[in-house]
Structure formats: structure tokens, C-alpha cells
Symmetry: C2
Subunit: 340 residues, 2 copies
């Protein structure tokens, strides 16, 4: 391809606590040559997700750390610019673990073809991709919601939480969302059909949440941890199930409250005969991905599952958009548009 000057965002340094723009660096680079069986990709959209914060730490339990000076990890929608791979042709649109880059060379590992005629390609990073599947696996496989039960989800307006609540509705449950701020709460109830939404920033959050769950909580899909976890804790019913998916409140090492908090959690888990299950979506892919695609595609085409995207333009804006997402100021799946 000769003259391609590609760009990438690398981890400039490890954050202690909240990351800042100084922890990232935009670089130019020349993609390595495409070998036999390989592909050259041009990234169109990059996904920004909370798990990336964990990978910025030196010892990340979340499937590996990003080394200092290395490209930030991430899923992307990309166009095949050149292909020496039998399964892909120039012009194909693929889902690729390309990272925060404008161009990438791939040997085909982890690639999946997207059909732009079926759904907007960006849904492959959101509602019809890993965030949607994470919602599906945590709610349906771990949570096993029964009609009439109450399902609570935190970070409810995000790409995972919004699908959790809508699937809970489809399952015949009362769906209660926890989100930050009145706009997100309104969005959950008015646009997505949640039965109730509670603002965790409200001074009477605990009281509001209890009122929104008059029959207690049977399934909790946890994305946040910290003070939000502790507010849900007293509401659990016997045999409650918790799909422990994320702990965004804890990723930056900021303690939320004081006191002997572990004891309370263990006590409730014991006396309510609860099941708490930490998970990554990957373990459920083989068994459940096909049914997820069917259920959620049907939900979208039938109008029962809606989604929003929050698109930032330009790879160079990715760090700022990422910080924005971590602080919960976006509404909808956070994406960076890298190229048309």
C-alpha cells in the first residue's frame, strides 16, 4: 500500500486512580506488510468500554494488561482495504479486535464479517455485539428471571444495562434501572420502557430505590459496585441472583464509603441464600451467542429493543471520549468514528 500513514493511541503511562489525557499518546506509524493470508484493515468505528480502564493497570485480571507504549485494546468496525485471506474480500466490513488505531494488519484472528444490509454496522459494537451479549448472558443465563420478578440493573442507560432492562421486560419482569441523573432516568422509562428508574445521585436514592422495588429484588445485574451495591443490598429477596458484570465505581481505586462493608455483604448473601456470580461474557459465547443474536435481532425489528449511540468524531478524540464515558456523562453506546 506504500504511503499509508496510520495513527494509533498508545498508553503513555499507568494512571493511579482516575485516568487523565496525559495517560494517552497519539502516534503515527507505518503498518507492517500484509503477509500471505493476512489483511489490511481501515478502522471506521472504535468501541469505548469500561473494561478498558482495568487493562490500563499493570496487573489486570481482565484478560491482560496493555503495556506502557502499546496500543490501547478495543473492538472496532473496519473495512477490508486489502486481503490475502480466503474468507475476506476488499470492501468487506468486519468486526476486529484492532485497538485504538486507524489501520491494522490482521491474520484473521478474531475477525467476524458484518452484513451492512442487516443492521447498521455500529450495532456490532453495541446492542448486537459484546455489550448486548453481555446483557443477555448475565440476565438470562445467570439471572434466570421469572415472570413477575423484579430485575434491577445499575449503569442502566449504558449499552449493557439498557439491553438488560429491555430483556427483563420481554421476560415479564419489573425492570428497574439505576442511572446517573434525571435525563438518563427519563430516557430509561420513556424511551426504553423500564418500569422505573432511580437516580443514584439523588440525596434520597436509597429511599427511591426501595420505593421502586416494592416486592424486593430478585435479580440484580451489577455494573457499578461501591455505594450502589450497598444500596441494593438491603432489598434482596431470598434466592436472589446477582450477575456481577462490572464494578466501574471501583476501577479507579476510589473508596466509596467507610466502615465494615464486607461483613454486611457476606451476611446478606448468606441469610438471603443468594447466588452471586462474577462473569465475563466470553465463557458463554459458544453456547448462547446464536440465541442472543436471534432474540435481540427480533427485539430490535419488533420495536421492543431500542438503543442509542454516542459517537465522537476522530481517533485523536478517543482518550477524551473514553474519560467522558468513564465518568458517565454520555448517553448511549460510546463510539469513536475514525473514518467514513
Amino acid at each position: 500500500m506504500g504511503g499509508i500513514t496510520a495513527r494509533r493511541v498508545v498508553l503513555a503511562g499507568r494512571p493511579s486512580g482516575w485516568p487523565t489525557l496525559e495517560d494517552f499518546r497519539l502516534e503515527e506509524f507505518t503498518p507492517s506488510p500484509v503477509l500471505s493470508g493476512g489483511l489490511l484493515l481501515r478502522v471506521r468505528y472504535l468501541s469505548l468500554d469500561p473494561y478498558m480502564r482495568m487493562r490500563m493497570d499493570e496487573h489486570s485480571a481482565y484478560a491482560g494488561s496493555v503495556g506502557v507504549g502499546e496500543t490501547m485494546h478495543g473492538q472496532a468496525v473496519a473495512e477490508v482495504l486489502r486481503s490475502e485471506h480466503p474468507d475476506y474480500a476488499e470492501g468487506d466490513t468486519v468486526l476486529a479486535p484492532a485497538g485504538w488505531v486507524s489501520h491494522a494488519v490482521s491474520d484473521g484472528t478474531g475477525l467476524r464479517k458484518l452484513d451492512p444490509a442487516l443492521a447498521p454496522v455500529t450495532t456490532g459494537l453495541g446492542v448486537l455485539g459484546m455489550p448486548g451479549f453481555t446483557a443477555y448472558a448475565g440476565l438470562m443465563v445467570i439471572g434466570r428471571p421469572k415472570p413477575g420478578e423484579t430485575v434491577v440493573v445499575s449503569s442502566a442507560s449504558g449499552p449493557v444495562g439498557s439491553v438488560v432492562g429491555q430483556l427483563a421486560n420481554i421476560a415479564g419482569c419489573r425492570a428497574v434501572g439505576i442511572a446517573g441523573g434525571p435525563d438518563k432516568c427519563r430516557y430509561l422509562v420513556e424511551e426504553l420502557g423500564f418500569d422505573a428508574a432511580v437516580d443514584h445521585r439523588a440525596p434520597d436514592f436509597a429511599k427511591q430505590l426501595a420505593a421502586a422495588c416494592p416486592d424486593g429484588v430478585d435479580v440484580y445485574f451489577e455494573n457499578v459496585g461501591g455505594a450502589v451495591w450497598e444500596t441494593v443490598l438491603p432489598l434482596f429477596n431470598r434466592f436472589a441472583r446477582v450477575a456481577l458484570c462490572g464494578l466501574i465505581a471501583q476501577y479507579n481505586g476510589v473508596s466509596q464509603t467507610e466502615g465494615d462493608r464486607l461483613a454486611d455483604t457476606l451476611r446478606v448473601m448468606l441469610t438471603k441464600n443468594m447466588t452471586v456470580r462474577g462473569f465475563f461474557n466470553t465463557e458463554f459465547v459458544a453456547e448462547h451467542y446464536a440465541e442472543f443474536l436471534r432474540v435481540v435481532s427480533d427485539g430490535i425489528s419488533g420495536g421492543r429493543i431500542k438503543y442509542r449511540e454516542d459517537v465522537t468524531e476522530g481517533l485523536e478524540q478517543a482518550p477524551e471520549a473514553f474519560l467522558h464515558m468513564l465518568s458517565g456523562r454520555n448517553l448511549g453506546k460510546a463510539l469513536v468514528k475514525v473514518a467514513e
Copy 2:
């Protein structure tokens, strides 16, 4: 029966923190008349169990509180002194939820006949009773141990823990016990066949436990909580299962350590894709009690399951024996011999 003067131990006041002898009172009483269909029981052995501490609190999640002035709850082995009940005859030995009493009147609810020819009747309060079944249900149903895995149990020399470790051995697992003091640890390894036992009072407890679990921890049967929980926490393998059975370190409301302990627990549960399941044995009785009796009876007769009892003489000694048991100073199932 005319002249029976019965005795009972009542809750004299609610403890704050560790209970003391002043929280109990021995009383005489006259049993109410035996109605049609009823029985008069003479208690021979009374069981002392950690869950009783939770029932001394005003708001116990553990299946009800004992009211101040009311008889302490508990299972007992009793002899039928008089029966108007079609299923029981004078002289029968029964397991009964009689409480801390010398005599009780029953309508038959919760009674189970014991066959003194099959096994010593006291085993109905221990290895072949609820403690043994609790071990069985937590380990086999929740823990699902696979051959070659490492099973850790806390309070390992107690009536529940000792069965957990021996069942783990039968299941082909490495059984590691956590107990208080070198005598108990020796007992676990030398008498019960645990692969290793670690003294949680040792100054290098964490190091010893890690050394005893060179391949990490796959199943943890938790009876203790607090600092012991936190010491096991770093050792969990991916997909570890925790049967959360008791939290004896927390029952008296004494905080163990400082700091942000909940965050660590949630983080490990998430990143290790753990399953933590709080349980009471009662929910598993219908489905699993028969197989438990078969497996553990076979284990006892085949010499692969051993047990010890710690018998205190006299109902009036029950409070002291209970405090003794709570502080972990006994070895073997704590029983009070009330009558021959």
C-alpha cells in the same frame, strides 16, 4: 404424669457482641398437658450450634429470633415418655426441635424417629443429622467438586467442616482445612485424612494457606467470614465456587480488619468469575437428604468418615458449653447430655 418438674434455659437478655452467661437463665416449669395426638418427650441430648447465636439477636435472618424470656431453640434427641400420637410409642427415640429443655410436649411436628440399632443416636444431631447434611449439600450441590480440585473448608474441625473435608477426599479432591490451633490441625490430618490443615491463629497463616493450596482454591466452604475469608480470597481460581454456610466470626458484630474490604471481595468475585452461594441446608432437604444419608452412612461404615463428639453433662451447663463452642475451644460436635 402428675409430678414432673421440668427445666429449661431461656434467653434472659439480648447480647451486644459476645454473649455471656448472664444472657441465659435456668428455669423450672411444669409441662402443659399432653393433648390428643400429642407426645411428652424427655430430652437426652441437646445440640449446640453456631446458628443459635444469630437467633439471640432481635432481628435474626436465620429463621426467626428467640424472644427474651423464651426457651432457646435447638434440636434434641429425646425419649418418648408418653404418646397419644399414632406414629410414636412410649420408649421411642426421636429427633425433636425441643429447644434447651429437659422435657417437652409435642404435637409431632418436626419429629423424626431414630433407630438406636443403626447408629449411636447422637449422630442424628451431628454427622448423620443437620450438620452432616449441611456439609453434604454445600459441598456436593453448591461446590460440585471435581477430582483433582482443591477444596478448602474453614472451621474444619467442627461437625460441618469435618464432614466437608472427608467428603472432598471421597470425591477425589485435595482437602485443606482451616482450624484454630495445632491440636485441631493435627486431628484433621492425622485422624480425618485431610491433605493439609492450617492454623488461622498462626502469624504466617496466609503464607501457610497459600503453601497448602499450590494449585489455588476451586471450592471453598465458608463457615467463618471476616479475616479468614480475606485470607482465602487471593487464592481463588477462575470459576471457583463458594458455599457460604456460616459467618461465625461476624455473628458477634466484631469487626476483624480495617479498610475497604468489600471492594476486594467484589473485584475477585468478578475477575475470577466466581460463584458465591449463601445457603441454609433446609432448601436442599427434599431433593438430597436420602442420598446424603446413604453416602455418609456408607462412609462411616467403610471407615472413610469419622467424627467426634464433645459432650457436656447437665442442662444447666448448656450456656457455658455454648459459649465454649462459639469461641472454638471444643473439638467435635458440641452436645449437652441432659438425661441418660
